[in-house]
Amino acid sequence: MRRPDRKINGMAHLESKYAEAPCAPAKPVRSGKAARRNFWGGLLANDTYQAVVDVLLKNERRQFWVLAAFPLAWVLFAHLGPVLQMFWISFLDSYPPTAGRQPQFTVDNWVAFFQEAIFVMPFLRTLVYSAVFTACTLILTYPVAYFLAKHVKRRNQLLFLLLLLIPFWVGEIVRTYAIMIMLGNNGALNLALKSIGLIDRPIPFMYTGFSMGVGIVYLTSLYMLLPLYSALEKIPNSYLEAAADLGAGSWHRFRKVTLPLSREGVASGCTLVFLISTGYYATPVLLGGPSTTVFAETIAGFFHVAGDKWPIGAAFASLMLITTLGLTGIFLKLMGRSGKGLMK
């Protein structure tokens, strides 16, 4: 850029013009589009707006509270509220309240859980099943995540991931149904086994722990895959190359370098899958049978029938919440992490 050849007369001229009336707009040159003022400029010039803003944004402290008020209220009311209220009514003896009767405080609802096998069994069953399914999902998806993170070129990774994501957009009911079709007595699996001559009569896969497991693993694989992939992708290849350079073989490298470094991903993935799988209602109902009743069904039972069973249902739900979150917390502690570390 060479020296400007002419002085900027316009600047000096405009300077004086603006200096005369810094806030009042100058007369429009022509009418129509050129005379339009920007919305925000107009807003800032508006007296009412200025008055409101002067109150709201007077100082840093006030600005903070104006911004914080609604989120805090929402989070307390809508996020925490339902859980707290659930706990609350688990200690009442009747809910919704009947006319002319004050609900009494009681722990009977909680005690009731331990007294009946038809309550305790599904509860334990749920925990065991979920743990098993989580482990299966881990074993199933770890190689896939490893492949994605280490064997696919970086720029293709998104594409490969995208392909994996597509089935998950479809929703749990549709996918559960798809599994039902596959595992039925006339389903694809039986057909395949028959056609290669392994069996004569169809195997009753459906309404068993197996079918429920297939369904749940099918539904939750992505929640294990993504954290695993994310963790594995972060391991620099140079670590593995250095290990190889120092004489470590494939399996050794995996055990000593890759596996420990992917621990955080394993922890996240397992946590997610465990929590999600305990929460399923439709899939166990559709794919499972009477012998595989999960606690979700037990809880649901109290809410779909008579209205006055809510307190027990609330107690059971609270119990399940405490247990699952507690188990998750212990698991994470064992894996050497405290909390999610998602904040920055």
Binding site: A68, Q85, M86, I299, L321
Partner: protein, 262 residues
């Protein structure tokens, strides 16, 4: 990695893809079966199930209902989630970690418990099971996701941009609408589409918070309780096509936006 490991890994990936897609493909195919009964082998083919679904006013009504709920809850989630993110992101204060944990709470509670808690809560604030309750339930569930996505994007906005806006005459509100919000656009679109999908696909909350009218997943579930039929396949396939299309469109626009407005 050795060539053998490479091939093995590759096979595992594609086997997994097949494992994910095959049930869905089978489901679609079964919808063309010319018979009332679900099962293989398929002897005759027909499109009557699909055309029947398209013309079924009840199904189309349910679809519109699900859509309306998804749109409403997505809008609410975006507004609330963004507000929460703008509060949690930049400010440091005592108890921030607790507030963050409570914000994420709906996302980590197992589905059934979340649905039950919301059901009780709705009763507590005098909302009947129905559309409003479901919208509320979906909003509560989706806000954490929106907040996380927006917070991630917000953390990459240099402080100097806001200072520059203020330097040029903007107060905090104008700076938000003219600088911050446009910057957040890719995150908002991504989060929005994610919310649409979550809401559209949701079962537990819609089941427990719903009234007489079902959402699409609830409808399918109800029909399945009375037994399978190709009609259900057709409905399920409609859902499949729609959600897959929505998801793919989302990915494409996210990709384009991230290239443009970084």
């Amino acid at each position: 990695m050795t060539r053998h490991t490479r091939i093995l890994m590759s096979v595992i990936y594609w086997a997994f893809i097949v494992y994910l897609f095959v049930p869905l493909v089978l489901m679609v195919v079964m919808g063309f079966k010319d018979s009332k009964f679900i099962g293989f082998p398929i002897r005759g083919w027909t499109t009557e199930w699909y055309s029947g679904v398209m013309q079924d006013a009840e199904v189309m009504g349910v679809f519109a209902y699900s859509m309306a709920i998804a749109l409403a809850s997505t809008f609410l989630s975006l507004v609330i989630g963004t507000w929460v993110a703008c509060f949690l992101g930049p400010y440091k204060f005592r108890g921030k970690l607790i507030v963050f944990a409570v914000t994420c709470l709906p996302a980590v509670i197992p589905g059934i418990i979340s649905a039950i808690a919301l059901r009780i809560f709705a009763r507590g604030i005098d909302i009947e099971p129905g559309m409003l309750a479901i919208i509320l339930g979906h909003t509560v569930h989706n806000v954490p996701f929106v907040a996380l996505v927006v917070m991630a994007r917000l953390s990459t906005l240099p402080r100097s941009h806001i200072e520059a806006a203020r330097d040029l005459g903007a107060d905090a509100i104008v700076a938000f609408f003219r600088v911050t919000l446009p910057y957040l656009r890719p995150a908002l679109i991504g989060a929005g589409i994610f919310c649409m999908l979550l809401s559209f696909d949701d079962f537990v909350r819609a089941y427990f918070l719903g009234g007489y009218d079902p959402t699409l997943p609830v409808l399918i579930f109800a029909k399945l309780r009375s037994g399978m039929s190709p009609e259900i396949n057709a409905i399920a396939t409609v859902v499949l096509v729609l959600t897959a299309a929505l998801g793919l469109w989302a990915e494409r626009s996210m990709r384009r936006l991230n290239k443009g407005a970084s």
